[in-house]
Amino acid sequence: MKKLINEPEDVVAEALQGMERAHPELRIDHDLHVVVRSDAPVSGKVGIISGGGSGHEPLHNGFVGMGMLDAACPGEVFTSPNPDQMLAATKAVDGGAGVLHIVKNYTGDVMNFEMAAELAAADGVDVEAVVIDDDVAVQDSSFTAGRRGVGATVLAEKICGAAAEAGRSLAEVKELCERVNANGRSMGLALTSCTVPSAGKPTFELGDDEMELGIGIHGEPGRERRKIAPAAEVTKALVDPIVTDLPFESGDKVLVFVNSMGGTPLIELYIIYNEVAKLLADRGIEIERNLVGPYITSLEMQGCSVTLLKLDDELTELWDAPVKTPALTWGA
């Protein structure tokens, strides 16, 4: 295993130490592993927290700050954080207007956030939770764990953060989060596996001419293994299922989010973005906003994901609102 780390079991703790040294505007609890914006709780403002396994950086820690998350709970690599972290984060950001939990749909995340919500409620905090499940690679069904929460999570955190900053109520912010989830769809692929530090070897093996289509963000294999193909073809394999799922239709205005799984460089993301733009133009779908870069990753995995969010004026306005976090900053 080749990584710029010390001991595998110290990866999360040391990355948090580095974050604290690099970003004095964050307050970090190194025992519990909770990252809080230093001016929290902002009184009268809805608090927004998220969390999940580490290894997806900058998600979620890098999105803590003005206009986005009030706190994040990083678990071990690819392992859901525990209720203690979530409870501490919830209390730290409760400014009296209640707290929204943005939860990615993974069994562990959901169960731990549920427990935390029960505990917070018992302590008299007004908590609402929205579970993000935007991954079209997984067929939805009430008999299964359902769809995974992936790219739309980043967009939900930005948009809900802006709404909370604007003084919207917990109910309004929750509705916006549900709207982003209802109108956002994603799909990803991997060109290489990634290596969980504590595991020490790649989670799966992939031939030199193979890719995994329909992956999540935990280095797990996808739905299907295919031969690698040109960017145009690969992009179509991601965009078609997304567009037909919602569906996205001619005249729709969308935000396009082209994301690196961690090891794919920006030059390739722009080639993919170019293909996405052409495919959407063919379908009469108008790109209003875009985000291109590594924002929700699987360690050093090479690959990408595409997320489309159908926009309305309110979502667009909230997307454009100022944000100031380690990983996403504009207008401030």
Partner: protein, 214 residues
Amino acid sequence: MADGTTVTIDDLVAWIHRFSEVITEHAEELTQLDSAIGDADHGTNMRRGCRAAVEALAATEPEDVTGFGRAIAMKLISTIGGTSGPLYGSFFLAFGTAGGSTGTLDAESAVACFRAAVDSIAARGKAEPGDKTMLDALEPAVAAMEAALADGSSLGEAFERGTVAAEEGMHATIPMLARKGRASYLGERSIGHQDPGATSSWLLVRSAAETFAA
């Protein structure tokens, strides 16, 4: 020292020590299984949780079964995280509640505690046998224990038959198509792999048998 007819607090503590040992032995294997159909952390998660549980027991010796269950549950929940944290956490929470404020369990009450524990995993995880989860080892195990007692077997025999059933249930997950947990994302590709959680659950039952029956 267990006498094979009753379970004392010391036996319960010994059970956790033994479970921690075998989890540490099998950690790499569990992570390997989780690599195939999950995210390669089950062994690491369980080892971290078990070690913390053992430390917790060293710090404060529980007074009764409820105290034991609560102590272990809280530790597992706050150190494992992931899916297995809350699930094994509810297991021990329910185990303790069912046991009540006593210091010894006879065969019937020990198995009753196990039943309550397994049911709480089913309740929390909303999984059923056949979904390719821990339950595929735990449900047959507790059923076998109950059957054993009905046949008048001893506590020790009951847990031994439970272990055999757990192991069979664990192997039975191999051909299953996962409907719950991470493996469900793989759809058809989940077939042909043994479920890591069912494997750690088999170790949980086995280490109970090893300590209670001895």
